[in-house]
């Protein structure tokens, strides 16, 4: 049998559906960090993110045969994880408000904690659709088309949400820091 690490994502998912007990584990190892990042950025709460990622991967494990092959496996995983995050968020508060959580952590070594917290705070104040679009496109670096597939909307919708979200973020930060804010955050 081929080493799971040598197979691509589609082959792994197909192998999992065919009963290979090791295939899905390789998919998890391969994409866990990326899914953790999107979950943490979506929920802003490590506990919620951990629960959501677990929910998402369990769901993907069980529903692997629902993957139709018309998208990348990572796109499919992103969609499942984002939906799991939204489910978790709506359980704790049925609105688009985000939990209060300080995302400052050991990875912040550039002294940009204030900037990051301000941005996170501002992100929490914009509509959920805009926030998700910005998270996927601007923070996770997904192409617009892939973000559209993840969120199940048109590419134009992603672009408009990003544009409106950026404008809203800029206004929120300007309200707090004035016009001189943006240059100050450049490293």
């Amino acid at each position: 049998m081929t080493d799971p690490a040598e197979r691509n994502d589609r082959e792994l998912l197909a192998a999992h559906c065919a009963g290979d007990p090791d295939a899905f584990g390789e998919l998890f190892r391969r994409h866990k960090d990326r899914m953790w990042a999107v979950a943490l950025r979506t929920t802003r709460d490590p506990e919620l993110a951990a629960d959501a990622v677990q929910d998402g991967f369990i769901s993907a494990f069980r529903r692997a045969d629902s993957f139709r092959g018309d998208a990348q496996v990572t796109t499919w995983l992103h969609r499942i994880i984002v939906n799991a995050c939204l489910d978790r968020l709506r359980r704790i508060k049925p609105t688009s408000e985000l939990p209060e959580y300080d995302l400052a952590d050991r990875h912040d070594v550039h002294g940009s904690t204030v900037v990051r917290l301000d941005v996170q705070e501002a992100l929490g104040k914009i509509p959920e659709g805009q926030r998700l679009a910005l998270t996927l496109v601007d923070m996770q670096g997904l192409p617009v088309a892939e973000a559209a597939q993840v969120l199940g909307v048109a590419e134009g919708t992603i672009k408009s949400r990003c544009a409106r979200g950026r404008t809203a973020l800029a206004e929120l930060l300007r309200d707090k820091h004035g016009d001189g804010y943006a240059p100050a955050v450049e490293d």
Binding site: G25, D33, D138, V144, A182
Partner: protein, 241 residues
């Protein structure tokens, strides 16, 4: 599949796109979370393989899987509800450590995940009935651990776990988390114990889980961190106290 962004989309006069892209990456998934999900996936695999051991599913799903059933409140939001969970969790830790005896050290992480109750003669219910959870507020130290653990073992007043400490346990306050943590301890400790005491405490100033297992007249204690994961060293290795 990708469509090149339009020119006006690429232009961002607000500067927010660059600002968002400049934010630091959250970093890799914490090992404890990865281990917990690996364990959950291993259970899924076992279930899929047709293992209908009834001890597996009830431990996994109420605690952390939100795909079915009622949503689980996180540890920090409902600390007192975790007390009962901690009892069960400690039982799972016990089962997990028992499971170590039957596992080879070179097994892959996914296959080394203990299937609670599957490889031991002790049922979870039997173990849960032997577990007592306390929160003594003790700051155990390396130098005095034996005496302190012995004292805890002899203390008949269990008290109520401190919600603040329970909160500190975070993901460890789940069967998956504590089972993962317990695997880092190793050794043969829990073959049919008479009772198991768990103190939600501190060790050298750090949040810790101190466990004393009594079998007959022998009491074995160890301490693990609340962020421990596979491969990490326990604060205090198992020793007779």
């Amino acid at each position: 599949m990708t469509t090149p962004p339009s020119e006006d989309f690429d232009q961002d006069p607000t500067g927010m796109r660059d600002l968002l892209r400049s934010l630091p990456d959250p970093g890799p998934m914490p090992p404890a979370v990865a281990d917990r999900i690996t364990a959950a996936l291993a259970r899924e695999q076992e279930a899929r393989a047709g293992d209908d051991n009834s001890n597996v599913t009830p431990l996994a799903r109420p605690a952390s899987s939100g795909m079915t059933g009622a949503p689980r409140k996180s540890a920090s939001r409902r600390p007192m509800q975790l007390v009962g969970g901690l009892v069960a969790a400690a039982a799972v830790a016990a089962v997990a450590v028992v499971g170590i005896n039957s596992l080879n050290n070179d097994q892959a992480p996914t296959s080394a995940v203990p299937s609670a109750g599957a490889s031991t003669s002790l049922s979870n219910a039997q173990l849960a009935g032997k577990v007592k959870v306390a929160s003594t507020g003790t700051d155990y130290t390396s130098a005095s651990f034996n005496a302190q653990a012995a004292s805890m073992a002899g203390d008949t007043a269990s008290g109520t776990p401190d919600p603040a400490i329970v909160t500190q346990l975070g993901s460890l306050a789940t069967p998956e988390g504590i089972a993962t943590c317990a695997r880092s301890v190793g050794g043969s400790l829990l073959d049919d114990p008479d009772d198991i005491k768990v103190d939600l405490a501190r060790f050298d100033g750090k949040p810790a889980l101190v466990v004393v297992v009594r079998k007959g007249t022998t009491e074995t204690a160890f301490a693990v961190s609340t962020t421990c994961s596979k491969g990490t060293t326990p604060y205090a290795a198992p020793r007779t106290v």
